[in-house]
């Protein structure tokens, strides 16, 4: 009898202790409620105590949580369509408010956050240009989105750690247009390169041809000049020589010229034997009478 009483008391102690002790994990935070009313939030990990039975605990995550939203097709201020895919990392900062807003369900929390993000994304993209989004100020834009979402997410008890644009793409039909443009750009480039090749080739060949012509012409000029100089020299030499006796030169040169000019074979002579050459043809003493002529 005594023994079973002891056993009952032991069991009761175990139950009471079990109900007043709870563990807070390193990754968790716990809300302690009393009849549905929040008493406190425990964020220190370890063993904790509460009033048994009348107090309950609700466990929420304390880690950085992830939110992936489906991609959004948005229009930028310069009327370009973009498919933007963002993700966020957030932390439950105010467990109580988060629980009130979502009932502790991460799914619902993510849904609400997703709505905020979607709206903020469209707003910010709508105010900026394509070039800003893609190239120049992605970080600034994400900071702006983060700011906007953060102010709204405060109502959820959530602090956005980071929002990043994961992908910025063009919609499918625009991508096709970009591909076509890239293609034509490359075709243009290829054509240009080939044309430049022809240009360079032609230029090199033309330059070569020019060099050839000039070289030849230069050679010709030199040749003529040289020949001219030769001729001058020759003239001078001969003139110097001939000038020593112009009368003899005329005779001497005439003799040479006759010999050269009256070559055998193409000349027939019809001569009268009364020239000086034939002086002795008819008489050994010569025509004394003819002499004075």
């Amino acid at each position: 009898m005594l023994r079973s009483a002891f056993l009952i008391i032991l069991a009761a102690v175990v139950v009471v202790v079990g109900s007043s002790v709870f563990v807070v994990d390193q990754t968790e935070q716990v809300i302690v409620t009393q009849f549905g009313q929040t008493k406190r939030v425990v964020t220190n990990p370890g063993l904790n105590f509460k009033l048994p039975f009348i107090q309950n605990t609700i466990t929420l995550d304390r880690r950085v949580l992830d939110l992936e939203t489906p991609s959004v097709e948005a229009i930028t201020a310069d009327q370009k369509r973009l498919v933007v895919d963002t993700f966020a990392r957030y932390r439950i900062e105010n467990a109580l408010r988060y629980f009130q807003a979502t009932g502790g369900s991460t799914l619902r929390g993510n849904q609400q956050l997703g709505t905020f993000m979607d709206a903020a994304l469209r707003r910010v993209l709508g105010e900026s240009t394509f070039l800003l989004v893609v190239k120049e100020d992605r970080a600034g834009l994400t900071a702006k989105i983060r700011e906007q979402v953060n102010s709204e997410a405060a109502a959820l008890g959530v602090k956005i750690v980071d929002i990043r644009i994961r992908r910025v793409d063009l919609p499918e039909q625009n991508s096709q247009a970009v591909f076509r443009r890239m293609q034509t750009e490359r075709q243009r480039e290829a054509a240009e390169l080939r044309a430049q090749g022809t240009e360079i080739s032609d230029r090199i060949k033309a330059q070569a041809d020019r060099t050839v012509t000039v070289t030849r012409a230069e050679a010709d000029r030199f040749s003529r000049e040289t020949l001219g100089k030769g001729e001058a020299e020759r003239t001078k030499l001969l003139a110097d020589a001939y000038n020593r006796d112009a009368e003899f030169f005329a005779f001497y040169r005439s003799m040479q010229a006759y010999e050269q000019g009256l070559k055998s074979g193409d000349t027939r002579l019809v001569i009268t034997p009364d020239s000086d050459f034939f002086r002795y043809l008819n008489s050994p003493t010569g025509p004394k009478n003819a002499k004075p002529q």
Binding site: V23, V24, Q26, T27, P45, G46, D61, R63, V64, D66, V134, V161, D162, R164, I165, R166, R167, D169, L170, S175, F179, M182, R186, Q187, E189, A190, L193, R194, I200, S201, I204, K205, Q207, A208, T211, V212, T213, R216, A219, S223, T226, E233, R234, L237, L238, A241, Y242, R244, D245, F248, F251, Y252, E259, L262, D266, R268, V270, T272, P273, F277
Partner: protein, 379 residues
């Protein structure tokens, strides 16, 4: 079932994992839950029955044991439970211990002990280098590598699209592995998301031509830095060791056009080389020809001068002699010359005498002229 009394303890250190199913690995949590706890309890009860006199009855056994027996039983159960706290950390892992949910210590590879479930928990993340591939999924024997276009196609700053495959080598920061385990709910998904976002941001800032050609190293470094910065902001406890770009190509739709540009560049070079070859051939030829012409001219000039000198010298010599005996020399020259001329020539000598005329009409001038034209025609 006839094991010795302290069998589990003896077996413990030798077998690295005597209680089967070790704690979960690198994932986010997962406590140790020895599946054969009941079995151990049952075994110790069996032994107890054998040790205790009069034991062995079913139901209400505890009531018969007495306080000492209960205490002994409890102690034994406690020892058995404590023994399940041993765990091993492999060389490429690090152990992270929690007691009542609170992080207490990091343990080195080897055999370690922590409070068993449900009081303690151990996580053992791998600290080796791990790889995340983006834009492709490597084959592993059976499956071939395939391209994931929605991950790999990205916009460049000049509104072109490139196809980039890359992988990220990362590892858990050995100085604070607890951050990796406790701070993020899905660390690997986060690393991947950050990697994609960073690469697109970096690519988006650049133009397509440098991306395709030279800027690879610079991009890799920029992505790595950006990733590291972002992950540090999350307190991810992760070190991004390296970002490797595997493939950087124009998209498949336009790759032919890009290759054609390469071909065109080669064509350009070829045309240039051909032209240069032509130039290299013609110009020296022309130079050779030119020097031929100039040499010929020089030669001609020298020949003319020499000729003239010779001629002049000859004339002067003759003149000198002539001056010594002008009459005779003149006569001689005249006669010799005419002799040579008349010597080799057809000639008709007409002695007209004083009366002249007479014979002229009989000269066959026509024949002579005809003969002459024939000769000209033959020439």
């Amino acid at each position: 079932m006839s094991n010795g009394p302290w069998q589990p303890r003896g077996q413990g250190p030798r077998n690295p994992n005597p209680w089967g199913g070790g704690p979960s690995g690198s994932g986010g949590g997962g406590g140790r839950e020895p599946p054969d706890l009941e079995d151990i309890l049952r075994r110790s009860q069996d032994k107890l029955r054998r040790v205790m006199p009069g034991g062995g009855g079913d139901g209400g056994g505890i009531a018969k044991l007495g306080v000492v027996g209960v205490a002994f039983l409890g102690l034994l159960a406690a020892i058995g439970w404590m023994l399940t706290g041993f765990y091993t950390v492999r060389p490429n892992e690090v152990g992270i211990e929690r007691v009542f949910g609170k992080f207490v210590s990091i343990t080195a590879p080897g055999l370690n002990w922590n409070w068993p479930y449900p009081v303690g928990r151990v996580n053992k993340p791998t600290i080796g280098v791990q790889t995340i591939e983006i834009g492709l999924r490597s084959g592993d024997g059976r499956r071939s590598t395939r391209d994931v276009r929605e991950e790999s196609l990205m916009l460049t700053g000049d509104e072109n699209i490139v196809d980039v495959d890359f992988s990220v080598l990362w590892l858990v920061d050995a100085r604070k592995p607890q951050d990796y385990v406790f701070n993020l709910r899905s660390p690997e998904a986060t690393i991947k998301a950050v990697a994609e976002s960073a690469m697109r941001e970096v690519i988006g800032r650049r133009e397509i031509q440098p991306i395709l050609t030279g800027a690879r190293l610079e991009i890799e470094r920029a992505v790595q830095e950006l990733m590291q910065k972002t992950l540090n902001e999350y307190g991810a406890g992760v070190i991004v060791q390296q970002v490797q770009m595997q493939k950087v190509d124009p998209p498949a739709e336009v790759i032919d056009a890009f290759r054609d540009v390469q071909a065109a560049r080669a064509d350009q070079e070829r045309a240039q080389n051909e032209a240069q070859t032509y130039a290299n051939r013609v110009i020296p030829e022309a130079r050779g020809e030119a020097s031929k012409i100039t040499q010929r001219a020089e030669a001609e000039r020298e020949r003319m001068i020499a000729d003239a000198k010779g001629e002049a010298a000859r004339f002067i010599s003759v003149l000198d002699e002539y001056k010594k005996a002008p009459e005779v020399t003149r006569q001689r020259l005249y006669l010799e010359t005419i002799e040579r001329i008349y010597g080799g020539m057809e000639k008709i000598i007409l002695d007209q005498g004083k009366q002249g005329a007479g014979v002229v009409p009989f000269l066959p001038l026509n024949d002579m002229l005809k003969n002459r034209t024939n000769e000209q025609g033959k020439r």
